[in-house]
C-alpha cells in the first residue's frame, strides 16, 4: 500500500515537473509546479519526514509559488510558444507528450529496479521517530544552533536586498 502510494506520487511529481519544463505558458507552469510540490510533500510524509513535509506545503507550495504566480501576473509574461529559438518539442506543450515521457520514465524505473542497482537495496528499515518535529527541532537548537541563527541573518539580508532591488528610488 505504501509502495503503490509512493509510486503514484512520484509519477505525479515527475509529470508535473515535465509539464513545467515543456509547457510554453508560464501561468500553467506555475500551477503545475504547485501540484508537483504537493506530491513531493506527500512523498516526504510517506518517508516519515513530517516536519519537512509540513514545511514543503507551507514554504514551497504556499509562499514561494504564490510569489511566482504574483510575478507572472505582474509582468504579464507572454507564452513563448512561437519563439523561433525554442526547439520544436517545447512548442507542443500538450498533455500527450508528458504522458509519453511518463511511460518511458516508468520503463526506466522498472529496469533500474530489476538490474544491477538492486544489489544496493537495503534490508527492511524499521520505523523511526527521526522525522518528528521534536527530533528535528532538538537537532536544530543544539548542534545546528549557529547555522540556524545565521539563516535568520541570511533572510534579513535577502529582505533588504529585495527591497533595494525592487524599489524604483530609495
Amino acid at each position: 500500500m505504501t509502495a503503490s502510494l509512493f509510486y503514484l506520487f512520484a509519477v505525479g511529481l515527475l509529470g508535473a515537473s515535465l509539464f513545467v519544463v515543456l509547457n510554453p505558458n508560464p501561468m500553467y507552469s506555475v500551477v503545475a509546479l504547485v501540484f508537483g510540490f504537493a506530491n513531493l510533500a506527500a512523498i516526504y510524509f510517506l518517508l516519515e519526514a513530517y516536519f519537512i513535509g509540513a514545511l514543503q506545503v507551507l514554504v514551497y507550495a504556499g509562499a514561494i509559488m504564490v510569489l511566482f504566480l504574483f510575478v507572472v501576473m505582474l509582468l504579464n509574461v507572454q507564452s513563448d510558444a512561437d519563439h523561433p529559438s525554442l526547439p520544436r518539442v517545447f512548442r507542443i506543450g500538450s498533455w500527450w507528450f508528458g504522458a509519453l515521457a511518463l511511460v518511458f520514465i516508468g520503463l526506466f524505473l522498472l529496469l533500474v529496479g530489476r538490474s544491477a542497482l538492486a544489489l544496493l537495496a537495503p534490508s527492511e528499515v524499521p520505523p523511526t521517530q527521526i522525522g518528528s518535529v521534536s527530533q528535528v527541532g532538538e537537532a536544530l537548537f543544539t548542534r545546528y544552533l549557529l547555522p540556524f541563527e545565521l539563516a535568520s541573518l541570511l533572510l534579513t539580508v535577502a529582505l533588504i536586498g529585495t527591497v533595494f532591488l525592487a524599489k524604483k528610488k530609495i
Partner: protein, 101 residues
C-alpha cells in the same frame, strides 16, 4: 517502508535532469527560475531519503537550511527579474545581452 532506496534516488536524479533541461532550453527567465527550484527539490528528496534510510536526522536539518536558502533566493531573484523587466521591457533571456558586448 517497502520502497527500496535506489528507486527514490532514481526519481531524484530524474527530477534533477528535468530541471537541468529546463534551465538549458527555456528562454523565459521565470521558467528557468522554476527549473532551478525543481533541481533544489530533487536534492531535498535525496537528502530526506538518505536521512530516512540511515536513521539520522542530519539530512532533514540540511533540507531545512536549503528551504531557507531557496526562500531567500526566490525573493532576490524575482526582484532582479522585475528590475530587468522594468529596464528592458522583457523577461526573455535571449534578448538580455548587455554584458556580452
Amino acid at each position: 517502508m517497502v520502497v527500496p532506496l535506489h528507486h527514490i534516488i532514481a526519481i531524484s536524479g530524474l527530477l534533477f535532469t528535468i530541471g537541468v533541461v529546463g534551465v538549458l532550453f527555456r528562454r523565459s527567465a521565470i521558467i528557468v527560475f522554476m527549473s532551478v527550484e525543481i533541481m533544489l527539490n530533487a536534492v531535498n528528496l535525496a537528502f530526506v531519503a538518505f536521512s530516512r534510510y540511515h536513521g539520522s536526522v542530519d539530512g532533514q536539518v540540511f533540507v531545512f537550511f536549503i528551504m531557507t536558502l531557496a526562500a531567500a533566493e526566490v525573493a532576490v531573484g524575482l526582484a532582479i527579474i522585475i528590475a530587468l523587466y522594468r529596464n528592458l521591457r522583457t523577461a526573455d533571456l535571449s534578448e538580455i545581452h548587455e554584458l556580452k558586448h
